[in-house]
Point group: C2
Chain length 337, copies 2
């Protein structure tokens, strides 16, 4: 079996870590060969504006206008709006830059005019010169609620306003039962041209799980012909960015790459796993879960890191696919690393 | 008769010229002795935000944050939002500065939450440390439509987008039949404590006439105990700022202070008129209309100019009031200048 005919790659992404890998992918693949599906359960309405943090981070990153220091927001940002809003006694806990604000205002205007979030995102990406297809996971609202020891918090209140301080006991995705995945999302997963489905090194609980929880996504991932590979967001017992490690500890899980692998493997969603060189000692344990494991540098500091990890992850997935074809009758793929 | 007991001044204002006189008044009078009622027929919804140009110009001017070079918008303004919006293919013909945007976002948020425009304006003025009372003319939408030789235009399309180029044939104030004046507006006009009602040097057609056209305003102005004095926006055959002179010419009116005086006098709304030294030759003709006329410097370049014109106009009105008391039985006030 050859995979030469398959060329498309689908990346499931949250914010910063996902955007880095998506950027690497976008530099390897032609625009029509890459679909990035973004979590929208972090979205919220603030000051009358629809804000989609993960979509924006991916758009800004692929559009070459992201702030590389913060990992979120735009480069060359100014803060006059927020200063003036503070002067007026408005809410300023969510840091809205002046350039960033244009995205929220234009998106909100288009949504009110009746466009779907998928349509709006396509228009914004076109304006930003982004060749890859960027999709929201759904056109319907899904909102992560963080269950904490002191009560329920909307995601942005937990994440930004309270700086992830409350102890987490679980999550709820309001709207998940009625939200439909963006049609292009399921189509991309099922497409015979899809060579690999990559779960980016994003927060498993609040970035990836909402995507997976949409009706039809998990079952499609299990039956699709393309290999599904995740990159661990946990390296050396810590999250590269964000609260994933803190959440794992508070949920009583081991804060390890193995913990992440098990989280996905329990639901039979993966065909392979990618961990950092730092965690090479965990490869055998992950493979014992039935997950072929690639060990490589996963911390993407430079653009070259992003491209290399993207290339290695695609090659790993393609190789899995090829092996899966070869050993289909054996039914248990061997480790490839 | 003495007017010592009366201390309150009500100013009817459009944008730039009105804001200048309002600033002069605000420096002479305690905050609780000045009400500035602003035209809201220029207001419009743009990018999903409620924009109130005249209210904003007055608020920014009284709050000490106005841009003195442009006459509109805020000082120390930045333009990142508009640049980014342009990059996204959004509408950029209306120049929204980053600081200015905070006003529109906060106002729109409060309006959507159910506050009236009067309540929102009071809150914004309080945040900006404005002691005087600033009122929208109405909490209900009134929208100026400019009738031109090439068709009807919403006011901001005429004024900003098309830079006042179309030839004007008339005006219509959509919503004027059902809009109620802000209750505090009529109360201020009728208040026994009101010593003077000043019509600022604002555009008679699109800034002052909408205020006057609200149900009950003209009849209240005719019966109120306080003198009503207007300051001419036309000086030396030109408007100090804006399209008033161009409009007068296109409407077939003489482009003179007399033309403005006649415009108000026809409706029996004024007790006195203030014109510039440049137009001293027109004083006799205006007085022949039955309007006592003050001739002074009305072009407000410096802060001292604003204060002086405010003081002279108040004194003129008080003197008229005193004379009106004195000569009440004669029924025809004499010129005071």
């Amino acid at each position: 079996m050859t995979t030469g005919a398959r060329s498309h790659c689908v990346a499931l992404s949250g914010g910063v870590g996902g955007a880095k890998l998506a950027l690497g992918l976008s530099r390897l693949l032609p625009g029509d060969a890459l679909t990035v599906v973004c979590n929208t359960a972090d979205d919220f309405d603030h000051l009358g504006l629809r804000i989609c943090p993960d979509l924006d981070t991916v758009m800004y990153t692929l559009g070459g206008i992201s702030n590389r220091d913060t990992g979120w927001g735009q480069a060359h940002e100014t803060w006059s709006f927020l200063e003036a809003l503070s002067h007026l006694g408005g809410e300023t806990w969510f840091r809205l830059g002046d350039r960033d604000l244009a995205t929220h205002v234009e998106r909100t205007r288009r949504l009110r005019a009746g466009e779907s979030l998928t349509e709006v995102t396509t228009a914004l990406c076109e304006a930003l010169g982004i060749a890859a297809r960027v999709l929201p996971m759904s056109d319907d609202p899904v909102r992560t609620v963080v269950l904490t020891e002191t009560g329920e918090l909307s995601f942005q209140h937990y994440f930004v306003r309270d700086a992830c301080a409350p102890t987490v006991s679980g999550f709820r995705f309001d709207g998940i039962d009625t939200a439909r995945p963006s049609p292009a999302f399921l189509e991309a997963l099922e497409d015979h041209d899809t060579a690999a489905i990559l779960v980016c090194p994003s927060n498993p609980f609040v970035s990836v799980d909402p995507l997976l929880a949409l009706d039809g996504v998990e079952v499609t991932l299990r039956r699709t012909g393309a290999p599904v590979v995740a990159v661990s967001p946990i390296v050396g017992g810590a999250a590269v960015k964000g609260p994933a490690a803190k959440m794992m500890a508070e949920l009583g899980m081991p804060v390890t790459a193995v913990g992440v692998a098990r989280h996905y493997r329990e639901r039979d969603l993966l065909d392979g796993f990618v961990i950092d060189d730092d965690d090479a000692g965990q490869a055998a344990e992950i493979e014992d879960l039935g997950l072929p494991t690639l060990v490589t540098g996963t911390v993407m500091e430079t653009l070259a890191d992003r491209e290399r990890l993207a290339r290695e992850t695609i090659d790993f997935a393609r190789n899995l696919d090829s092996r899966r074809g070869d050993v289909a009758e054996a039914g248990s793929p061997e480790p490839s690393a």
